[in-house]
């Protein structure tokens, strides 16, 4: 029973983080049709910036229990680099996908050294501030309250995102633009502005998830390139462009990883790739994606 809850909580925690990054990927792919390899770099940027922000805040006399809001705020703040990146990507919207993918690959390379320049090659961590919130008992196991809070935060963000896309006027226009760019432009939608907003939102989702994860795992230079593969796995399993797909994919990848790590560590990532390949063979569009032409 303990093992079951361990895997469940560990898997869901990982899924919560992955979902945020994958949601950012989906949003950008859905509207701009760009697969952003740099999503992992945003995640790492959020993590590094979060460490620095919390250390600075604690140094400035902010009480320790307030570190979670500080992290969230820092994640949102650093995500505001989005418009600058989008301005660069704008140069290739009308070009072949290969160029778009390569441009985001260039961003991966550049961010790698930007992170190294500001934070050095050594991993950065927050020590055990996350233990400040204590532990709660879930079923038979003691879980750090912080992890539960992150899961809760991710659920709140997911619901908020869903409401934003489904219920608000802006969300409706956004979905219409994703559906048919020319038509919405003809109907007077400012597509450029829309793209900037969407890309920034995607960036913020990435940086916030990085900031949220950093109390439990050190920020390191391996983060960007490792996470991007997992995020890819999530969106491919769930279906490119689908938000519900991102949720389903994140849960599958998160739980699968937790299972594999516990029972057969060699299989950790291998299991995920096998599922990705199986899904692409059986359902090329992903579990919840729209069929591809």
């Amino acid at each position: 029973m303990t093992a079951f809850f361990d895997i469940l909580i560990g898997g869901v925690f990982h899924a919560a983080v992955l979902f945020l990054v994958a949601a950012g990927l989906q949003l950008v792919f859905g509207v701009q049709k760009i697969v952003n390899l740099a999503c992992g770099s945003f995640y790492a940027l959020g993590a590094y910036f979060g460490v620095s922000a919390v250390k600075w805040a604690l140094g400035a006399g902010v009480p320790i229990p307030l570190f979670l809001p500080v992290l969230l705020a820092s994640g949102v703040l650093v995500g505001l680099i989005g418009p600058a990146i989008e301005a660069l990507l704008r140069t290739v919207y009308h070009r072949d996908e290969a160029f778009q993918l390569l441009l985001t690959f260039a961003l991966v390379l550049m961010f790698q050294d930007v992170l190294r320049f500001f934070w050095g090659a050594n991993p950065h961590e927050l020590g055990n501030v996350s233990m400040e919130y204590g532990k709660v008992a879930i079923g038979a196991v003691q879980v750090p309250t912080y992890n539960v809070l992150v899961i809760a935060a991710s659920i709140v963000i997911a619901l908020g995102l869903g409401a934003f896309l489904q219920r608000t006027r802006f969300g409706r226009i956004l979905r219409a633009t994703a559906e048919n760019r020319e038509m919405s432009q003809a109907l007077g939608v400012n597509v450029n502005w829309m793209y900037t907003v969407v890309f920034t939102l995607g960036t913020i989702l990435g940086t916030v998830s990085g900031a949220l994860v950093v109390p439990t795992a050190a920020a390191s230079l391996d983060m960007p390139v490792e996470l991007v593969v997992e995020a890819f796995a999530v969106v491919v399993i769930g279906g490119l462009g689908s938000m519900r797909g991102a949720l389903a994919g994140a849960l599958i990848v998160g739980l699968l990883r937790a299972l594999a790590i516990r029972y057969y560590a060699e299989l950790e990532m291998l299991a995920i790739y096998l599922v990705v390949i199986a899904v692409l063979i059986a359902r090329p569009a992903g579990l919840l994606g729209k069929p591809i032409e």
Binding site: V92, L102, L109
Partner: protein
């Protein structure tokens, strides 16, 4: 003009060990390896229009093939190593290709990326078989049965091995030239430009894409064998997705629309990287900047810049 370029490049490369310091010769060797790999890669990317983000998989198969054959099975013949590793890559490419060529564009890219990473995590995690993150040593092979015992490692690499690889590049380059100018190559281009129309006209699009995939896997494996022998080590980083990204980078840097583009790309990338690494520890940043400039301003790559300069000069010459 193309022939002149090819002959000039060959003469220059043949002269490198005589003129340049050993350090630069050891740089040219991986560039030759990448040039061979990219000849195959560009058959798939430039001519067939399929962008793979997982071809490092086949480079890794080549390097690991050389490692396993030379240090575990005691096979020393370079020719046999090339043949067996190349065929192993083709064998692996059959299932991967069959599954991947059902898709085009971004899905093809993601699927190949997943296969590449599958192999990477296999190499990384199954320590007993693959040596994990340290990999397997690649021992010095014999060339045409000669073992060159009297030469030390560097002398061997920049001497006989260098010329052997250069000859390989020429032979494989000529073979690729034949392939892309054959009816098969034209079928590929037709399928790239308009797959549906090509299908109507009787082009068996998927089969041809698969064959292009297999050929590209073979070329990448040959490149991988040379890389492995050059560094004396096969490690899992060779299969990592960023390495696949570098293959794409080199191809676009040189220009994928030109037959010689990938070759130019391989050489410029290796030298740019080594020069940048010598100047700054932040070389990745400047590589990224280069890639941005190429993608945004010169999508036809260095070969495109060269072509434009050539035709401008030719026009000026005609006018005067």
């Amino acid at each position: 003009m193309r022939l002149a370029f090819a002959i000039f490049a060959f003469v220059a490369l043949a002269a490198v060990p005589k003129l340049a310091s050993p350090y630069y010769v050891t740089l040219v060797l991986p560039a030759i390896a990448y040039a061979i790999a990219l000849l195959g890669f560009n058959l798939l990317f430039g001519y067939t229009g399929l962008l793979s983000f997982g071809h490092a998989l086949f480079v890794a198969i080549g390097a690991y093939g050389a490692a396993v054959l030379s240090s575990k099975l005691g096979l020393k013949s370079f020719e046999m190593i090339l043949l067996i590793s190349g065929l192993a890559a083709v064998a692996a490419a059959i299932p991967v290709g069959l599954l991947s060529v059902r898709y085009v564009r971004i899905f093809f890219g993601i699927l190949t990326l997943a296969f590449g990473m599958l192999f990477h995590s296999f190499l990384f995690k199954f320590y007993n078989l693959t040596g994990g993150d340290t990999g397997i040593r690649v021992l010095r092979p014999t060339l045409l049965g000669m073992d060159f015992k009297e030469l030390d490692k560097t002398a061997f690499l920049i001497g006989p091995f260098y010329y052997y690889c250069l000859a390989l590049l020429v032979v494989l380059g000529l073979a690729m030239w034949r392939i892309v100018h054959s009816p098969f190559g034209l079928h590929l281009a037709a399928a790239r430009e308009n797959p549906r129309k090509a299908e109507y006209l009787g082009v068996r699009v998927r089969l041809f894409r698969l064959i292009a995939f297999l050929i590209s896997a073979f070329y990448c494996a040959v490149g991988g064998v040379i890389l492995g022998i050059n560094t004396g080590q096969a490690d899992p980083e060779l299969a990592y997705w960023t390495h696949s990204g570098e293959l794409v980078f080199m191809t676009v840097l040189g220009g994928f629309a030109n037959f010689f583009g990938p070759l130019i790309g391989a050489f410029s990338f290796i030298f740019l990287k080594s020069e940048l690494m010598g100047v700054t520890q932040y070389w990745r940043f400047f590589l990224g900047v280069t890639l941005v400039l190429i993608v945004v301003l010169f999508p036809r790559g260095l070969a495109g810049i060269g072509e434009d300069a050539w035709s401008r000069a030719a026009r000026k010459a005609r006018r005067s």
